[in-house]
């Protein structure tokens, strides 16, 4: 009987890899995912018939409740809540791994061999950190907790000491698995560490945190695979772990900051950094001014940011884009890798609004085009279009690759008010002679623009 089980795991492994491979293009992606889902189903069936399982009551209860909650979340959560949903999914995944690890220890405790104990240790540590870290990330995204970094004196030292303590307990446990008090202490410390790790990270750095949590949740699953001697868990967990890891690196590169700086640098807290002194006026524009500029432009580039998500303005953008295209204007979208709160955030929002993906351009592709763009429309984005990153070596964001919107003929910034935005940095873009601000909620402004363009000649 166990051969059947093992074969389903092998099939699942192969199908998972095909599934992820198919994600290389939107056209093949859905079919690939269906294959992966089939693999998952096979593995579940293959497990349910295993001889170790003798009672099905709790299993059925868990499967049913889990399916209902999972399906409800998938059907009803809006695309703008994708970062929150993703954070929760990391928490759930890590929780499952951690609990299995705790159960294994509870059952075998002192008899655990060195390798198994090591695997279980990693399982509960990665799991614990990710559960609380992801819940913390969720809280920051939902603004239940202050988005600005929460720091206190000696925080880094405290965190590092905590980490060293946890690591020391882990090493001791590997040699003395019977020390159960220490094990549960280690679990508790891991949970605590997750909170402390994410506490000082600013909301704008969420893309990195999300990717990291994605990675750790995967590694927790991989460790479970080591502990249970189950290859498909190792494979799936490692694929997830590395995926998250690669994304974290990409996000850090896109901000030109090292991972250490993101995690331990408390970026965005009130620091006295050298920012460009902006003397000059922020020109205010009216919807009619902007509409005329756009209606007669050759090329308009939209630059979405997190503000577009909070204003739920993606549909209004597409409406406006459609109008412009009908008039013969070339419309493109410039997507900065860290725009939004998670990798690819802007892309799914615009896809939801029915924007064809061929109009979505990455930074390297679109930057050369700004010089020949008549109007660049910035919608709720700030740091990713801040010229200080390019021109001011003393800026906190110096060196970060940005979208060169200031090179366009005219820049229109849609902004709620005169405040400093999520990152708290002054943005000299707003003071440039070719830039103007259109104040108000992005959705309202864009709808006004739609009407104004319709009336243009």
């Amino acid at each position: 009987m166990s051969y059947f089980s093992e074969f389903t795991y092998l099939a699942a492994s192969i199908l998972f890899i095909f599934g992820l491979k198919a994600l290389s293009h939107p056209d093949t992606a859905r079919r690939g995912m269906n294959l992966a889902a089939l693999g998952m189903l096979l593995a579940i069936i293959g497990t349910l018939v295993r001889h170790e399982i003798v009672r099905y009551d709790w299993i059925i209860a868990g499967l049913v409740i889990g399916s209902i909650i999972g399906a409800a979340m998938a059907i009803w959560m809006p695309m703008t809540a994708m970062p929150e949903r993703t954070a929760l999914s990391h928490a759930f995944g890590a929780l499952a791994a951690a609990l299995v690890g705790i159960s294994e220890y509870y059952r075998h405790g002192a008899e655990l061999g060195t390798f198994k104990m090591t695997a279980i240790g990693f399982e509960v540590m990665f799991g614990g950190i990710t559960v609380t870290g992801s819940v913390m990330a969720f809280a920051k995204l939902r603004e239940l907790v202050r988005g600005a970094p929460i720091t206190y004196k000696g925080q880094n030292i405290f965190n590092i000491s905590l980490f060293i303590l946890t690591a020391a307990i882990f090493i001791y446990l590997v040699f003395v698995p019977a020390a159960s008090v220490l094990f549960y202490m280690m679990v508790g410390l891991a949970f605590l560490f997750g909170v402390l790790l994410v506490l000082p990270i600013g909301a704008a750095d969420m893309p990195v945190v999300m990717s990291l949590m994605n990675s750790y949740a995967g590694l927790a699953s991989a460790a479970t695979g080591f502990a249970l001697s189950n290859n498909v868990l190792i494979i799936a967990g490692t694929l997830d772990g590395f995926s998250g890891f690669i994304l974290s690196i990409l996000m850090c590169r896109a901000m030109n900051r090292s991972i250490n700086n993101v995690l331990f640098g408390a970026f965005g807290a009130e620091t006295s950094a050298a920012v460009t002194q902006n003397d000059g006026v922020m020109r205010e524009l009216s919807a009619e001014d902007v509409a005329v500029q756009m209606a007669y432009a050759r090329q308009v580039v939209f630059v979405p940011g997190y503000g577009m998500a909070t204003a739920q303005a993606q549909h209004a953008v597409r409406e406006l884009a459609d109008l412009l295209e009908a008039r013969g204007v070339s419309v493109k979208y410039a997507i900065h890798p860290v725009a939004g709160r998670m990798p690819g955030h802007m892309n799914v929002l615009l896809a939801e609004a029915n924007v064809p993906y061929s109009l979505l351009y990455e930074l390297e592709q679109i930057n050369p085009e700004f010089a020949t763009t008549d109007v660049a429309v910035v919608i709720g984005a700030n740091d990713v279009v801040n010229p200080d990153a390019r021109d001011n070596p003393k800026s906190p964001i110096a060196g970060m690759p940005i979208l060169d919107v200031d090179k366009a003929q005219s820049v229109v910034v849609l902004k709620r008010g005169k405040g400093k935005g999520f990152s708290g940095l002054e943005n000299p873009l707003f003071f440039k002679p070719n830039a103007g601000l259109l104040y108000g909620d992005a959705k309202i402004s864009l709808t006004a623009l739609v009407q104004a363009v319709q009336q243009a000649d």
């Binding site: 992820l20 868990g62 399916s67 997830d240």
Partner: protein, 99 residues
Amino acid sequence: MSSEAFISALYVFALSAFLGYQVISRVPPLLHTPLMSATNAISAISLVGSLVTAGGNYNTVSTILGFIAVTAATINVVGGFMITDRMLKMFRKREPLQH
């Protein structure tokens, strides 16, 4: 776990890491969000371990922990695949313009 079993598991881990790097780096930034939900759904294969914990009737603590783990993992499996599909459905090519 014997050291051979451990080394064997390490082989699987190392190969998965290399394979993962190759496969994932071919996913365009366009699809990074569905990538995150897909990899999370796939790693919820840990459901398999939770099922044995919840169904092995080992002791009360394990069964309860197993039940919670099964629930959490199932949320990710069902929810993860569904949301990934929902997102992937939305990406469309440009239709021919009617000018």
